[in-house]
Symmetry: C2
Subunit: 213 residues, 2 copies
DNA sequence: GGGTGTGAAGGGATTCACAGCA
DNA sequence: TGCTGTGAATCCCTTCACACCC
């Protein structure tokens, strides 16, 4: 079962594994069992082994996995080895926070350009990135940037997505609460912060919730 | 099949439906078919019908669903009717953006308190909320606040989670990239922004990605 | 005709159990 | 003995097909 169809759920967990391996590697740990990894990310050991088995024989029975080797392997699968350039559109409250967010860098992402349509935002420098007018999005063409982050309003998001695709972007992280229609070759990943909050009360004890102020 | 076990995936979609119904209701639309709703949130009509059927007979054959009635019904299920008070801990870049985030309000959430440990943050007023020192978290006791949002660093998150649970919080939206260990009665929902970005390259055309700068 | 509700079929991911190797 | 790799079983969710109702 080598490199057949990889379950999406497996792909979802790989970045978790990658991050743990990255930190273990930094601590010069050489070997690690599926149980160790599983305990840290809170899944079952056989889940880890099954996930990794899709990509070939990566471990050694009786010993475990070679941390550095596995880190590199998962990095290759996810294409996280080497820096990825990204561009951000929408430097409002959320967008500005994303520009400063340290988590992206830990996976090798580098936001090298930012755009907004509001004159009072344009020209500002945030985290070493100068905010430009959205009309200058065209300048990105041919600069080997394939990842875009959308942090504009729901009403502008579709328009911005189109513009990003025009300049060659084929992977979009979308924070706007709206479904984006894009060509098949473009991958969208949506993060809708409020949606996750909205289903929290459902899982909480009934008596506590819903007491209006 | 009435009120048996509701699939988690169904619960995940309900807030989507709720938001659409909310906006249709504001436009005074009276009826709506499963297809209309399905097209907007981009799922199949039978998926919508199956989801709703878990909660009883909500529609009328030949007509569709009564928008206002369905809105109220889903609101009851998710417990979104009435305002929910919430508290935020960690007023860094991300936390400050969350304090100003308009999306929470549209689901009836109201962040009524914010805390940070850095003296230069304490005392600031953001979006009408005064930032207090984390040591004052105890003041929340008995104030009918059950939802907490954690936007602190990975190293502090577990500690903050414990403190929130001590003052009665039983639902936590966690933005820190770490697994939180909590009592069974407490519900955690994790949002790890970088994780979603990290699996974007996997789904993108291989040739484009990984060209180091 | 138009549209809902639902048992049954189908598909995908998790879990199990164990063979096999260091 | 310790730990991986993996077919088989199980579970959960999606999809289908159609009975039934306005």
């Amino acid at each position: 079962m080598r490199y057949h169809k990889i379950p999406d759920e497996t792909v979802r967990r790989l970045p978790l594994y990658w991050r743990v391996l990255h930190s273990l590697s930094a601590k010069d740990q050489v070997h690690m069992s599926s149980k160790t990894l599983a305990d840290i990310v809170h899944v079952n050991p056989w889940q880890v082994r099954k996930d990794l088995s899709y990509f070939g024989t990566l471990g050694t029975p009786g010993v475990g996995y070679d941390v550095k080797k596995l880190l590199k392997e998962i990095g290759n699968i996810l294409r996280l080895n080497g820096t990825q350039k990204a561009v951000l559109v929408g430097v409002g409250n959320l967008g500005a926070a994303l520009l400063k967010y340290p988590g992206f860098e830990s996976y090798g992402f580098d936001i090298i350009a930012a755009f907004d349509k509001h004159p009072r935002k344009i020209g500002k420098t945030i985290n070493n990135v100068i905010v430009k007018d959205v009309s200058q999005l065209n300048d990105l063409k041919g600069r080997d940037i394939y990842i875009g982050i959308i942090a504009v309003s729901a009403t502008s998001a579709q328009d911005i997505a189109g513009k990003l695709i025009d300049v060659g972007i084929c992977g979009i992280l979308n924070f706007a609460p709206v479904y984006l229609t894009v060509p098949k070759k473009v991958t969208i990943r949506n993060i809708d912060i409020a949606l996750d909050l909205a289903r929290l009360p459902y899982y909480m004890p009934a008596k506590l919730v819903g007491k209006a102020i």
